[in-house]
């Protein structure tokens, strides 16, 4: 068998293709797409005989590097600022990975092309690899990094914390609703093809600059599998395009998937890269620069645009709007500021910004200091417990934001916030596109067309709702974000591990009770709600209250 060429071997395994003769397979997952005219070859040409040894070899390199890192005391050089954010990232990412594995059966059924099923099956196995190898990396951090808190209760935290719901879109979105919308457009066409570049390439590069070479070791190994998945998505997309009836759905799904990925991934990865690093060399790329290179040039211009000639309607306006959000409206900075405002509801420690950081931000994002500098100075001033409250309850010119019902990131670019009564409830959205996603796209009809397979946005989508009226100490305790002495908080707004400098539940006890913005919104009269919206849209940047004189 060893002498056979890959092309020949791949050709041979096509003989396995199955045409049912006695029973049709049960179709569990529906789609509103049709593939009547579809014919596309498997672009992967991967056979398991070569796949398994290849992955084993990749594993050898990963686990060898991990041994080396421990023997070489890598953690003596790891920046705590950086690794603390990994408590969030590595609590999120194993679920999206395993969800990607779970999404592949949806494609077996929805895409009637046995030749593609081989590639989808290999992707399924890859994703099991990614999920478990990432859980294992987190385990290694927990065992060897100075502060295991947040790693050791990682999945409980992720399932409880508001960041979990933001991250879970990048998982549940792969496996629920219309099979093609979820497993093909959202997962492979947009998430894997566009945004894994910043997730699995740009961010690990930043890890290395912060003394952590295990994140790049693991995630570059993961990313080397992604190219196959991108091919899966591309092949399915071309099949979908060959049927005119799919064009409207493709346009809808690309708009939803692009915007949601931008809202979720740019929020998280942008924050990790910009606010989790100690590398402030002026010539290192900012997240905006990385985004321009990886997303705008490599994905939008090189991948998406050429598909226009096949009839794909590209969401040019949303690509440009995303860039505007990042470059002009400070989206990443607003998110980082919110994470730090709500440090007490999290399970990692968030370091304050220093003069060196300020200088770098001002160099990369001119005008940054005027917008955000003062607030970060206040963050540092309030970092150690000293008779005051946590920053969220202090007067630092910051209005606690409402959450977006769709992407669940707060409505941070205040001027863009819109609201609508949907399903009998007033909801706030961070942007018109998020409103459209909930109120129009995820519905059983779309622009007059029946879309009976489209999914729904469900669940308790505003975290604060669950804790409306609660004391903060009880909130933190209920979530389980407390260290093993029973009172010191897992999260801290600084990196000082001196127990005397750490916040405890006692400090939380004296704070005002937590209020749910959405509950309060729904208690307002119509006039009050309009006034609230008008005020909210005049707030910012950096969460500042609306100017009084306007």
């Amino acid at each position: 068998m060893s002498r056979q060429s890959l092309a020949k071997a791949h050709q041979k395994i096509q003989e396995l293709a199955w045409e049912p003769q006695y029973h049709e397979p049960y179709m569990k997952y529906g789609t509103d797409y049709t593939f009547r005219k579809a014919a596309k070859k498997d672009p992967l040409k991967q056979v398991l005989r070569s796949y398994f040894p290849m992955e084993e070899e990749k594993d050898h390199r990963v686990y060898g590097a991990q041994d080396g890192a421990i023997r070489g005391n890598m953690f003596r050089q790891v920046q705590e600022r950086w690794l603390e954010w990994q408590k969030l990232f590595l609590s999120i990412i194993p679920l999206p990975e395993i969800s990607a594995a779970r999404s592949m059966p949806m494609l077996f059924q929805a895409v009637p092309n046995p030749e593609l099923h081989n590639g989808q099956a290999i992707q399924m196995i890859d994703e099991v690899r990614h999920s478990t190898i990432q859980q294992n990396l987190k385990r290694l951090y927990m065992n060897n990094y100075i502060d295991p808190a947040g790693f050791n209760n990682s999945l409980r935290n992720f399932h409880t914390d508001y960041c979990g719901t933001i991250g879970r879109q990048f998982a549940e979105g792969f496996i629920t609703g219309d099979a093609i919308t979820a497993a093909s457009i959202y997962l492979t066409i947009v998430a894997e093809t566009a945004f894994t570049n910043t997730l699995f390439v740009a961010m690990p590069a930043e890890a290395a600059a912060n003394g952590d070479y295990l994140l790049p070791t693991v995630f570059h190994s993961v990313q080397s599998d992604e190219s196959r998945h991108i091919s899966n998505g591309y092949a399915t997309l071309l099949m979908a395009l060959s049927d005119e009836d799919n064009r409207q759905l493709l346009e809808r799904d690309l708009r939803y998937a692009w915007w949601n990925n931008h809202r979720v991934v740019d929020a998280a990865i942008g924050t990790f890269i910009e606010y989790g690093t100690k590398d402030r060399r002026k010539d290192r790329e900012s997240y905006a620069e990385m985004w321009r290179r990886w997303i705008y040039d490599d994905y939008y211009r090189s991948y998406l645009l050429p598909l226009e000639k096949y009839g794909l309607v590209i969401p040019h306006d949303l690509v440009e709007e995303s860039w505007k959000q990042i470059w002009e409206k400070g989206y990443v900075h607003e998110v980082a500021q919110f994470f730090a405002t709500g440090w007490l509801a999290n399970y990692w420690r968030i370091d304050g910004m220093t003069d060196e950081d300020f200088e770098w931000f001002e160099y990369k994002y001119p005008g940054w200091y005027d917008r955000y500098g003062k607030w970060w100075e206040n963050y540092n001033r309030l970092a150690l417990p000293n008779g005051h409250n946590a920053i969220v309850a202090e007067d630092v010119d910051y209005v606690y934001p409402h959450r977006c019902w769709t992407c669940m990131v707060p409505c941070l670019v205040r001027e863009d916030m819109v609201m609508q009564e949907v399903d009998g409830q007033w909801r706030t959205y961070c942007h018109e596109v998020c409103r459209w996603t909930d109120a129009e796209a995820f519905r059983p009809t779309y622009q007059g067309r029946e879309t009976p397979n489209m999914g729904k946005l469900v669940g308790h989508r505003e975290w604060e709702t669950l804790y409306h009226g609660w004391n903060w100490a009880d909130v933190v305790k209920d979530m389980g974000f407390v260290r093993d002495d029973g009172k010191t908080m897992t999260a801290q707004p600084h990196l000082n591990l001196d127990p005397k400098k750490m916040w405890t539940l006692d400090h939380m006890r004296r704070m005002p009770h937590l209020q749910s913005p959405n509950v309060l919104l729904n208690e307002m009269s119509d006039a009050e709600r309009e006034a609230f919206k008008a005020d909210y849209n005049r707030q910012g940047p950096a969460g500042r209250p609306a100017p009084k004189d306007a």
Binding site: W18, H23, K28, Q79, R483
Partner: protein, 400 residues
């Protein structure tokens, strides 16, 4: 030039991150949660005294609103179902009828304190499969197979095959690849979205990988034989699979396994508990591997044997570990036993009918294997043993 001016001809320093000593390694300081006891995942109860590596990388990755998922699932299907619904099989594990915590305004997380909240979460794959075990095992299999076949090729071992044996392998061993492929993709992979926990779904994904690999092993072996043996028809397996009467029974049951309506439990049970021992092992062990040596073939049993090991030593193990506790479930034992007995009554006759249609294959080689009835008896005994392991009654239909 003053000393403060830069010298354009001087070599510029490369811009690279500078290593910094941070002393951020375990044990460098003492503070709450710095002790070794804090260095373990503390959000689940291990099945045994000490949590395993497998559990660490698998348990709780797929969340559950009955445990920590306080905001609930955030996407739903059009019919309202969301996440990993427990009713995607008719089997029940204790606790499944308990409602999810009624969360809402001001309720807090309502984490379930008595964990596990239902019996599905007690399942652990006895093979402890995760990515490292998966690749080590399968890479070893394909490496060994490649060496076996290469050695046979170098030794001109295929020259010893009789014409009848060549026909047998090209048609029948070849036809078997289709069964493995269909089971791998359209039964095991097709159901790995449907199980109630990450441990179930990962076990199904691994089972699927075994099957798909084995199907491809057979296909590529078939390709080698086409290249090595004059007159070996590499497409005869398609004709046999599509047309030979002795294959249509097995094909019918295989396809029926893909058509199980909305019940991952029944599909997996019928495939690994009924189909595999009564048809799979009957063909692989009790026909091909018993017959090959007498017909001058020492290679085919090594290829078949790899697939046989997948099932006998790994796939059956997790399946028994999955289903056996349900028969003794503290709340739903009777329900589950009745259900599984019903599945046996439905699937065993189909499997036996298919097995009997395969009987002519026992006469096709020059050197005959043990009699078909003896082979079928062995398969039945094996199946009856599996039923005993599951605490199920051997179905009456087995006497057919």
């Amino acid at each position: 030039m003053t000393t403060t001016e830069s010298n354009p001809s001087a070599p510029t320093e490369r811009s690279v991150p500078k290593p910094v000593f941070t002393d951020a390694e375990a044990g460098a300081k003492e503070f709450p949660d710095s002790s070794p006891a804090a260095r373990r995942y503390n959000y689940f109860n291990p099945a045994k005294r000490k949590q395993t590596h497998y559990e660490d990388v698998t348990v709780e990755v797929q969340p559950d609103p009955r445990h920590y998922l306080s905001q609930g699932w955030i996407y739903g299907f059009a019919d309202g179902s969301r996440g990993y619904p427990l009713h995607w099989t008719k089997l029940k594990a204790w606790g499944v009828d308990e409602p999810e915590p009624p969360r809402g305004v001001g309720t807090g997380s309502m984490h379930v304190q008595n964990w596990p909240a239902h019996g599905w979460h007690e399942f652990r794959d006895p093979n402890e499969e995760w990515e490292q075990t998966l690749y080590r095992y399968n890479a070893n299999v394909v490496r060994q197979l490649t060496q076996n076949v290469e050695n046979a090729r170098n030794a001109k071992a295929f020259d010893l095959w009789t014409p009848n044996w060549i026909r047998f392998v090209e048609r029948n061993v070849g036809a078997w690849m289709h069964i493995e492929h269909i089971l791998g993709l359209y039964v095991f992979a097709a159901n790995e979205r449907s199980g109630p926990t990450n441990m179930h779904n990962t076990a199904m994904a691994v089972n699927s990988a075994h099957k798909i690999r084995f199907a491809q092993d057979l296909a590529l072996y078939n390709l080698t034989l086409t290249e090595e043996i004059d007159g070996f028809d590499g497409s005869a397996h398609l004709e046999a699979w599509n047309s030979d009467a002795e294959w249509q029974g097995a094909r019918k049951v295989t396809e029926a396994l893909t058509a199980v309506q909305d019940d991952w439990g029944e599909a997996i049970f019928a495939a690994n508990i009924v189909f595999e021992p009564l048809i799979g092992e009957l063909f692989r062990s009790n026909l091909v591997m018993q017959t090959a040596a007498g017909n001058g073939d020492f290679v085919t049993p090594t290829v078949m044997g790899a697939g046989e090991f997948d099932f006998a030593q790994r796939d059956l193990r997790w399946t028994v570990a999955c289903f056996a506790p349900l028969v003794q479930d503290k709340e739903f034992a009777d329900h589950n036993k009745g259900l599984m007995q019903g599945w046996l009554s439905n699937w065993v006759p189909q499997a036996l009918e298919a097995a009997r249609t395969m009987q002519p294959m026992w006469s096709q080689a020059d050197h005959k294997p043990p009699r078909f009835e003896d082979a079928l008896d062995r398969a039945k005994n094996r199946f009856a043993g599996i039923c005993r392991d599951l605490n199920l009654d051997t179905p009456e239909e087995l006497k057919q």
